[in-house]
């Protein structure tokens, strides 16, 4: 259990660094964007989330320091221009990952978690809604100003980088126990279901809303679900 919370602490810490960097990047080409203030606040939120996750991780006997890695690398393809690269990163980090996080948190909050865990889940969920929305806000704004259709071909790459390969594999029995829910962790099959439903009902229709063809993303998902490499 501690490993899951330590991983989350690292994810939140990485998000804080990413959002701080994106504040400067967006300011260069769109200084009036509402996403700038939202991301500045989000960076602060994520540091607080990292501390909350670190505390829970420690309570489960797992040191986060031992799991910390170097700052997140630039995930955008090298051939994209700066503005496209920023949009790529915002879509990957917010429209996909933060949206998935909100769905996971909302699902966990329906279950009966330990009081301390529930308090942390609730606090983080409240902020993650804002973080997901700011990504969609940036995409919506960019769609009114520049061509965003280039994203379509990159969506499968973003999806692949969001989840571990074993999400679509058969789980080990320990990963399926409902006991995990008490500690704020989804059993494997439920995690996969939330991931898939979020892509199908939120992320892919959302991309289409702003003129990004969801076809390649849908194909990626169908291949994963059918076991096609």
């Amino acid at each position: 259990m501690g490993e899951a919370w330590a991983f989350r602490a690292r994810v939140e810490h990485d998000a804080a660094l990413r959002f701080t960097r994106l504040v400067g990047a967006i300011s260069e080409f769109d200084p009036d964007s509402p996403a700038i203030a939202l991301m500045r606040r989000a960076a602060t939120d994520e540091e607080r989330h990292a501390r909350l996750c670190t505390e829970l991780s420690a309570a489960y006997g797992q040191s986060v320091e031992a799991t910390l890695l170097p700052p997140p690398v630039d995930i955008a393809p090298a051939q994209l221009g700066r503005r496209q690269a920023v949009l790529y990163e915002v879509v990957a980090a917010c429209c996909i990952t933060e949206t998935e996080s909100v769905a996971t948190l909302a699902t966990l909050l329906v279950e009966r978690a330990e009081p301390r865990v529930r308090t942390v889940l609730h606090e983080i969920a409240r902020d993650e809604v804002v973080h997901g929305r700011m990504g969609w806000a940036h995409l919506a704004r960019e769609a009114t100003q520049v061509d965003v259709s280039f994203l379509s071909a990159w969506i499968p790459v973003m999806f692949s980088g969001t989840v571990d390969d074993d999400l679509f594999a058969e789980p080990v029995p320990e990963a399926e126990t409902e006991e995990l829910l008490r500690h704020g962790v989804l059993p494997h099959s439920q995690k996969r279901e939330v991931f898939v439903r979020t892509l199908l009902d939120v992320v892919l229709p959302g991309l289409e809303t702003f003129g990004v063809d969801a076809g390649p993303g849908r194909t990626w998902l169908e291949q994963r679900q059918s076991g096609t490499p």
């Binding site: 990952t97 009114t144 071909a153």
Partner: protein, 58 residues
Amino acid sequence: MLFKKLFQILVLGGAVVGTNTACTTRAEAQTAAKKGMKDGGMAADAGAQAAAGGVKGW
């Protein structure tokens, strides 16, 4: 039900936040992008994906 609500809150809510404050037209912005940025209208080569990735989350 949860996912429908998420679409409304995140996607449609984001559209309101993002587009209500947009103060430049698409044409103006595209012209500026072509002048000042090297990515104006350039399509991505999705075949070269070695350096691209995604972001891990919860």
